[in-house]
Amino acid sequence: MILVLIEAVAGAAAPLSLEAVHFARDLAAKIGAPVEALVVGGAGGDLVGQLGEQGVSRVHHAQADGFDSYSAAAWASALEDRVTALSPQFVLAAASARGNEIVAHLAVRLERPMATNCVTIEPGEQITATRQIWGGAALEELHLEQSPVLLTMASHAAGVEPADQPTVPEVVAFAPELRAGDLVARVVRVEAGEGGGSDLAAARVVVGGGRGVGGADSFDSLLDLAALLGGTLGVSRVVTSQGWRPHHEQVGQTGTRIAPDLYVACGISGAIQHMAGCQSAKTILAINTDAGAPMVAKADYAIIGNLHEVVPAIAAEIRRRTS
């Protein structure tokens, strides 16, 4: 059996969790095993139906008083309960902040190795996996110990796709026993955030600025272009580490991962850690003085020139056509 940890957001499975289920289904077909899911705490909405569309045969629903606020250790106790009860061959989660930490807690308790950010799994006598390292700029092939094999799946290692054979999952409610220390590190309250990161992740257009912008007070033309395109500003780490713009605007391995229809990268060289955050953009337009910059090579379109001349000219042309 393959057990997939599901993260729910507002009564629906998180897209990354559904990708993990799709990945699990392909693996399940190879080893001839069913896919089951674990949901912790509130499972409102049509979560079970959604998992049925994904071909999940059983949904384990952990309920306990401790689950009304999030704690990685308590979530791991729910997972541990199912692993002990059901002996799955594989335990999968999305390589999200929560997926990684919950499986990591499980791994230390079971004293099992865990592989994060996996993209492929070869089952067999000797299991091998391939995982992304360096933000996806390199891959590691590794052997994994059997039963259970603990993995988190890199985002977009599989798409979200409904199963050929949808199911009506059996729902198994259970009440895992929480350990004494499980609730010490739990969310005691949620405060309103700057919001920037999530806006950026969902933006259809991102106008990016890097070191080439030159200073904190030189972002006006980029902000203007972003507004004209109904988009938002994203920046490189040089920009945030200089204090020119706040960190929630940072795109990259240690910032936000964006997936817009259009990314206009202005004065950004295209370091691997930056590309890790923008490689899901459908179209990239690079504006750079250096025709040899990696960003230009990786872009779909490029304009070679000074961004302080090019960006205002683009904004003027948009105004001319739309007024």
């Binding site: 998180a14 999030y70 992304q132 360096w134 700029a137 110990e145 990696p294 379109y301 304009i303 090019v310």
Partner: protein
């Protein structure tokens, strides 16, 4: 307030990655070495906390002698001392690194130095295992919050904040505690000249771990084939604006 920050030296690659001949590591000959931005922020937060509350910060790394270079960087911005756990950890599993770190923390406690906060990066810049901090916490029986952007020391312990799916998640923990830090809320300071001089003289304790490593199961590293560039240059300078806006129209991004 005693704080221990664990750091990992990694190759400073930012362009296309090249591997060593045996494909077991990233070739750092031409790119030098660095720390993860997460760990740089952990150092900065530790120094700020010690400035505000007194006490001392120490930096620890499990690795070969060369990691002392990265420890000196931390020592030059206000960290007081270093601990080098000498081992070639490149084939170690994150759990092995955690075991070696937990061993040092326990030994220091037995010798009279206990830490209120153990800080880590959220994930290492190279392997991105997301495990060492959690595994150390587990071994020492301490609470752990990952992905922390900022924290403040309070009467009761420590209040830590991180970004969550619904907003900023707040945790209130007793000390001692483990926090893994994410880049974002603070800007790491640059060392001053006196800081550099002080770092040269700062004490570095050298220890040999006694753990038996399990190993990370690595077979080899690979680098995905370079995708040939398909870039279409729309033009040069401000004159290219027309072509750019034509593109936006084709993408359906202009509203009239």
């Amino acid at each position: 307030m005693n704080i221990l920050i664990s750091i990992k030296r990694v190759a400073g690659a930012s362009g296309r990655i090249t591997l060593t001949d045996d494909a077991q590591a990233v070739d750092a000959r031409h790119v030098g070495y660095t720390l993860s931005p997460h760990e740089e922020c952990a150092v900065e937060l530790a120094v700020q906390t010690v400035e505000a509350h007194g006490g001392a910060a120490a930096v620890l790394s499990v690795g070969v002698e060369d990691v002392v270079d990265q420890m000196r960087d931390a020592l030059s911005v206000g960290v007081g001392s270093g601990v080098l756990v000498e081992a070639d950890a490149s084939t170690w599993a994150p759990g092995d690194v955690a075991a070696a770190i937990a061993e040092v923390v326990a030994d220091h406690a037995a010798a009279g130095t206990s830490y209120d906060l153990l800080l880590f990066g959220n994930e290492a810049a190279d392997t991105g295992d997301f495990q060492v901090g959690i595994a150390v916490a587990h071994r020492l029986g301490l609470p752990c919050v990952t992905g922390v952007k900022a924290f403040e020391v309070t009467e009761a312990g420590v209040t830590a904040r991180r970004d969550g799916p619904d907003g900023v998640e707040v945790f209130e923990l007793p000390l001692p505690a483990v926090l893994t830090v994410r880049d974002g809320a603070v800007i790491p300071r640059y060392p001053s000249v006196p800081g550099r001089i002080k770092a040269k003289r700062a004490p570095i304790e050298r220890l040999t771990p006694t753990i038996s490593p399990v190993g990370n199961g690595r077979i080899r590293l690979t680098v995905p084939p370079e995708v040939p560039s398909t870039v279409e240059v729309l033009g040069t300078g401000a004159d290219a604006a027309v072509a750019a806006v034509d593109l936006f129209e084709r993408l359906g991004l202009l509203s009239r």
